[in-house]
């Protein structure tokens, strides 16, 4: 009956309920949107590492993220493949150059060079054509999202990157990096574009016979004392951590999230406070006819829970609509599975916090006041 009473109060006090609902929806939608943007950017930060299909990355010593390493010698490959735990090791070369668009203008691109035939660190999802396109020396891929920026190149179109002739042979999907447009090419083409010294590479990707453990990693590090040796997971984390800490993204997103939560809490607090003030007489009546403080608390908590439940539902509905709308667009948005329940629980907790002032007012309802 206390739950029914709470439900009836919520339905009856429409304006207060709408206000409190707005607060919960604001929290779920704004925080969810911020988080989806943050996780989308986090994905961009480590996109190459996460899609490398390797167990271990070997890069130059003392790196702080996957994008800022010096070139390393290709002779390390022999040392690496000499270890019995290693299945294969492949060099990759990452350079940058200017992509010549159809109208003669230039766009800066990162060119990822991958060695045939394994094409490790090659593109992972195609919109048009497939990885066989990269077996040709002058082939490059461009991403679907960058087509407009690159002057809408079509398949087999010949152009230049870094004044070197390239031919667009495939269009990828989702290959978007934190540092800009990504183009895949053969390792030899990248050597030409980036004019790197022979036998030197950006990284060596290693595949092990089994999952990497501390013993294998120790052996690899011992064999390559001047290199940074990280598991893919470690390097991904290191890269994300670097960008979050050094670009202000973390504090910026944290700040906007806190503001969104605060706005929600204030809206919920004010509307529930007003609602409970308007119901003070009802709570006094309930106390007079035998209700305890605990029973009043249950009614107010049920009200908060009902509003939070509906608000979370509406908020997620709006968030899902937005995420679907922005899917495939240039806006980075990604909401990992664990975020949704965490956000829902967080929103419900915040609703309870918001209703705590209202609860204090409700608990002060004096049963003796009904006789005045």
């Amino acid at each position: 009956m206390r739950t029914l009473t709470a439900f009836r109060m919520v339905v009856h006090d429409r304006s207060s309920t709408a206000g409190a609902l707005l607060g919960v929806v604001a929290i779920v939608f704004l925080v969810g949107q911020q988080l989806s943007l943050l996780f989308g950017l986090l994905n961009y930060m480590s996109v190459l590492v996460d899609h490398s299909n390797a167990d271990v990355w070997v890069m130059s010593g003392n790196i702080r993220n996957a994008d800022a390493g010096n070139l390393i010698s290709g002779r390390y490959i022999d040392r690496i493949v000499g270890l019995p735990e290693v299945k294969w090791a492949e060099p990759v070369l990452i350079g940058s150059g200017l992509f010549r668009t159809a109208d003669g203008s230039y766009e800066s691109v990162r060119v990822i060079g991958t060695r045939r035939p394994r094409l490790s660190l090659g593109p992972w999802q195609f919109f048009k054509a497939d990885e066989r396109a990269l077996l040709d020396l002058e082939s490059v891929t461009v991403d679907k999202l960058d087509l407009a920026k690159l002057g809408n190149p079509v398949l087999n179109q010949v152009t230049e990157i870094g004044h070197r002739r390239v031919r667009v042979r495939a269009i990828t999907e989702g290959a978007r990096g934190f540092q800009g447009t990504i183009v895949f090419a053969s390792i030899d083409k990248v050597k030409e574009i980036a004019r790197t010294p022979p036998g030197r590479y950006s990284a060596i990707l290693v595949r092990l016979n089994r999952a990497p453990d501390s013993r294998i990693m120790a052996r690899l590090r011992a064999a390559l004392p001047k290199c940074s040796v990280y598991t893919t997971k470690e390097l991904s984390y290191l890269t994300k951590k670097y960008y979050i800490a050094n670009t202000g993204i973390g504090s910026s997103f944290g700040f906007s999230t806190v503001i969104a939560v605060l706005i929600g809490v204030v809206i919920i607090s004010l509307t529930m406070y007003t609602s409970v003030l308007g119901r003070a007489r009802d709570f006094a009546v309930m106390r007079a006819i035998g209700g305890r403080r605990r029973d009043i608390a249950v009614v107010v908590a049920c009200e908060a829970l009902i509003i939070a439940g509906v608000g979370v539902f509406v908020g997620f509905l709006m968030l899902v609509t937005l995420l679907n709308f922005t899917r495939g667009s240039a806006i980075p948005s990604f909401l990992p599975l664990f975020v949704s329940p965490a956000l829902a629980i967080g929103a419900i907790l915040v609703s309870f916090i918001g209703s705590s002032i209202a609860l204090r007012v409700a608990l002060k309802a004096d049963p003796a006041s009904v006789f005045h």
Binding site: M1, R281, D282, M286, G290, A368, V370, F371, H372
Partner: protein, 243 residues
């Protein structure tokens, strides 16, 4: 469904002081009296005389500053807050000056709330009983209506139904007719009288409305916090039994 026990409410030297910040002020001087079942007692007096304070103390929503109070043989003066709430839930019915029905709940739900305000399910047959009482009070057509759609008299009758649903041994009414027109007021008083006599409850009505006095079995007049007269009245019993 059990009926009310025939239990007397006894007050021994009950007094109440209020503090106005600087000093204590006595608003109710020691009262020693008994309220008998089957009797409608009217506490009368001008505004500020202390009658509502006395009613609040009897109703266990206000603690006396001194004195003792007994429900039958059980002392109920110093019950804890939760014990007092349980006592009010199980033994008391209240009719307030304003009907104070909870908006959002229907008339039937308001009536049942008296049973379930502590979260327990209403006992088996409670709903039927509520319907029966509401029918008896002429609200059979309004069971599912919202309180705001009822007239003042109907609301007050609904609040009486809320008070009666638990078969309370004690029914406390604070100015139950003040917000009603003359005809509705008479209907309510006849009803309270019948409840006291036929159902053997302690019924205490606070009022300064002289139109209520003819219904009293006992008229207690309070002035300046003291009982100045306590008389048994010749009441309209015959009229009530016929109604």
């Amino acid at each position: 469904m059990r009926g009310p026990k025939m239990t007397t409410l006894r007050l021994e030297g009950i007094a109440k002081d209020f503090s106005d910040g600087a000093q204590m002020r006595r608003v109710l001087f020691p009262v020693t009296t008994e309220f008998e079942p089957g009797e409608l007692t009217v506490l009368a007096g001008p505004s500020g005389s202390g009658k509502t304070t006395l009613l609040s103390i009897i109703g266990l929503v206000l603690r006396p500053s001194e004195g003792r109070m007994f429900f039958g043989d059980k002392e109920i003066t110093s019950l804890s807050e939760n014990e007092a709430a349980r006592m009010r839930l199980q033994r008391y019915g209240f009719v307030f000056q304003q009907p104070m029905l909870i908006e959002g709940l229907s008339v039937l739900e308001n009536t049942l709330l008296a049973f379930a305000v502590q979260g327990r399910r209403p006992p088996k047959g409670a709903r039927q009983k509520a319907v029966k009482i509401l029918n008896r009070l002429g609200l059979g057509e309004s069971l599912h209506m919202q309180p705001r759609l009822l007239s003042g008299g109907m609301k007050q009758r609904a609040s009486i139904a809320r008070a009666l649903i638990k078969d309370p041994a004690i029914l406390l009414c604070d100015e139950p007719t003040s917000a009603l027109d003359a005809e509705s007021g008479q209907t309510v008083m006849r009803l309270l009288k019948r409840i006291a006599i036929e159902e053997g409850r302690v019924v205490v009505v606070v009022s300064h409305d002289a139109r209520v006095f003819p219904y009293a079995d006992r008229l207690v007049k309070i002035e300046n916090g003291q009982i100045v007269s306590d008389t048994r009245e010749q009441t309209q019993t015959e009229e009530v039994s016929q109604s």
